[in-house]
């Protein structure tokens, strides 16, 4: 198999806070192939942003420290690059767009200045050429009034327009990988749909991969080819988008799918998973989901960290489908999944 475009391998990140350290990522594995949209899903606080920022080494350090793992881009471990060597990658081969377009644009610089910056830094172009390209890219991102907008400041634009500006800024150097960290979360519902359409269009149109991060399974499923489910700084499950809904394996994934609000039912309150994502002050010693898991099977869950692996022959899934759960390891062999009395109502899938 050829080397994927990006391979995050056993990434561990810790934050040194004033009292106790926080282990935010505990062995994250994610691969992104060429021309693929990889969705990253998980509740907020699962480490999605920390993962994304690690790729471009944009975490504030201190307090963040990458304490283990590799981030291979086209085969090269980016973690071995210095900050100034990373500048050759940032905004050039890998661009990032952020959750809150209100805060991610500089309030005192014009749209034109900000959109052309990556081009001026990485390509041999004049300012005028850069502005022309910026106008073209802003138009391609659905801003018809681009010629006027380049002289405007961010405060005169709506949230949706600003996110389009962010996307244009990310795409202007035609990167190989676009990291989109919850690009629609801060927007209202109609704008969300439009930005999502735009991202879908550009993923078809441009020759590039997208790492699409969201806490909302419904939006990810519209754009992603494959999906990585993250939980508390670990990867719970990884599969193609189709299989995620047909054959979700990890109890956390199943809970996420259940909690998508359905249009045809009346919800008294929005479905959500009870409890909250734990934070670790030392590396986890068991399954991070154990305390909230509806299919908790005993001491193995607390004492052994489950490793990502295919679920075994009993499950008719694609070869790449992996899950990190003791229901599918030897630890559970005496108690096969889905069969116990109190669990039957959960096994509707």
């Amino acid at each position: 198999m050829t080397e994927p475009l990006l391979a995050i391998d056993d990434l561990n990140v810790r934050f040194r806070t004033e009292d106790e350290p926080v282990y935010a990522l505990n062995g994250v594995d994610i691969t992104i192939e060429h021309n693929e949209v990889m969705g990253i899903i998980g509740e907020s606080g699962c480490g999605k942003s920390v993962t994304a920022l690690s790729v471009l080494q944009l975490l504030q350090s201190p307090p963040a420290e990458i304490i283990g793992g590799e981030i291979r881009y086209k085969g090269e471990n980016l973690l071995e690059r210095s900050d100034s060597e990373m500048d050759e990658i940032r905004g050039n081969e890998i661009s990032m767009i952020y959750q809150d377009p209100m805060k991610a644009l500089n309030p005192v610089l014009t749209i034109g200045q900000q959109v052309t910056e990556p081009l001026l830094a990485h390509r041999d172009v004049t300012k005028d050429e850069a502005i022309d390209e910026a106008i073209e890219m802003l138009r391609a991102c659905g801003l018809a009034d681009a010629e006027r907008l380049v002289d405007e400041y961010p405060h005169s634009l709506s949230g949706g327009m600003r996110q389009r500006v962010m996307i244009a800024m990310g795409l202007i150097t035609k990167p190989d990988l676009l990291i989109a960290d919850e690009p629609t979360t801060a927007l209202d519902v109609t704008t969300q749909a439009k930005i999502l359409d735009l991202l879908e269009d550009i993923s078809d149109e441009f020759d590039m991969s997208i790492m699409y991060i969201s806490h909302n399974l419904a939006t990810v499923s519209e754009v992603a080819d494959r999906i990585t489910v993250m939980y508390a700084g670990t990867v719970a499950e990884r599969c193609t988008m189709n299989e995620l809904f047909e054959l979700p394996l990890h109890p956390y994934t199943r809970k996420l799918i259940e909690s998508i609000p359905k249009l045809d039912t009346v919800h008294e309150r929005l479905p959500a998973i009870e409890g909250s994502v734990p934070t670790f002050n030392e590396p986890p010693s068991g399954c991070p989901f154990a305390s909230r898991c509806p299919q908790y099977i005993g001491s193995a869950c607390d004492e052994v960290v489950p490793q990502a692996q295919p679920p075994g022959e009993a499950y008719d899934v694609e070869a790449e489908h992996t899950v990190a759960c003791h229901l599918y390891t030897d630890a559970s062999s005496e108690k096969p999944p889905w069969t116990t009395e109190e669990q039957t109502h959960d096994s509707a899938y």
Partner: protein
């Protein structure tokens, strides 16, 4: 913008009127008789009374005030009781010296404070940060007149590098600098301490903003992130502080002009107060008020250059 400037100029009128009323009251409520002061303690009562009548002191305060304002409106600040010189001329002779000293003091403040503040924010918790902060607090806690005396003792008396006092008639020469350096530094150092701390704290706040991370993520290099993205935002609070500091620089210059025998309007003010030379005092205070108001107008206009969210109309 033009509309805004005109409105600001109109607002100055009541402010200046208030200032003149206040200063007239202050002068007339303070003890001491200018006629007696001019003629000396031995002069006989009749001579003093004659002089009082001659310079209009026998009139009630409000009449004198109205007459003075009428003169000011025609551009005439009156004549000195002591020397008989026109106040306009006395001020115009000395104003350049005061403006020179104040502008150079502000320039020194910027030249010292901005780089130090930026460095200590960018290199937070390193020796450079600690060094800058010690430096800032050192100057901040030093009264400027005392600093002035120390500087004279050190550089003029002990080392003999600079003249003790006075002002050179030249500009942009070594001699010019030798006279100007000490008083300007004595005024500027304290302001520089304040501005260093403000620059550091606003840079620190800005460096943690998300748009700075965005800028880093574009691979434009650390320098461009600081100078293009962070500095322009930091200039907004800095401009505010400078606006607030201008009156302080001027009032600081009054004392320093006195300490260094700098021939500006500050020293003239001190002399005139002790001689009870009321027209001169009133004239100088009015000039100071006008300078402060105009300086603040300029700062407010400069503001729009730094922050596009601020527009005046």
């Amino acid at each position: 913008m033009l509309k805004y400037v005109i409105r600001r100029l109109l607002v100055m009128i009541p402010v200046l009127l208030g200032v003149t009323v206040l200063i007239t009251l202050l002068i007339n409520l303070s003890p001491g008789d200018p006629a007696r002061a001019a003629l000396g303690a031995q002069a006989d009562a009749q001579a003093v009374a004659n002089l009082r009548q001659e310079i209009g002191l026998d009139q009630p305060v409000y009449i004198r005030y109205i007459e003075w304002v009428a003169g000011v409106l025609q551009g005439d600040l009156g004549t000195s009781i002591v020397t008989g010189e026109p106040v306009n001329q006395m001020i115009m002779e000395r104003l350049p010296a005061t403006l020179e000293l104040s502008i150079v003091a502000i320039a020194i403040t910027f030249v010292i404070a901005l780089p130090l503040g930026v460095i200590s924010a960018v290199r937070q918790y390193t020796w450079m940060d600690t060094g800058s902060m010690v430096f800032a607090i050192f100057w901040l806690s030093m009264p400027s007149f005392w600093l002035g005396l120390i500087l004279i003792l050190l550089f003029s008396v002990e080392l003999g590098i600079t003249p003790i006092s006075g002002r050179s008639g030249t500009i942009f020469t070594v001699e010019w600098l030798s006279y100007l350096a000490l008083p300007a530094f004595a005024i500027g150092a304290r302001r520089a301490g304040l501005l260093t701390r403000l620059t550091r704290s606003s840079m620190l706040e800005i460096i943690n903003e998300e748009y700075i991370r965005t800028a880093k993520g574009k691979g434009i290099g650390g320098r461009a992130v600081i100078y293009t993205h962070a500095m322009k935002n930091a200039m907004i609070p800095i401009a505010t502080l400078v606006g607030l500091q201008i009156p302080m620089v001027l009032s600081g210059s009054v004392i320093i002009e006195y300490v260094f025998s700098w021939p500006g309007i500050g020293r003239l003010l001190v002399d005139s107060v002790s001689r009870r030379d009321y027209p001169v005092v009133q004239g100088i205070v009015l000039v100071y008020a006008v300078i402060v108001l105009f300086a603040n107008l300029i700062v407010d206009i400069a503001y729009t250059q730094f922050d596009p969210r601020v527009t005046y109309d």
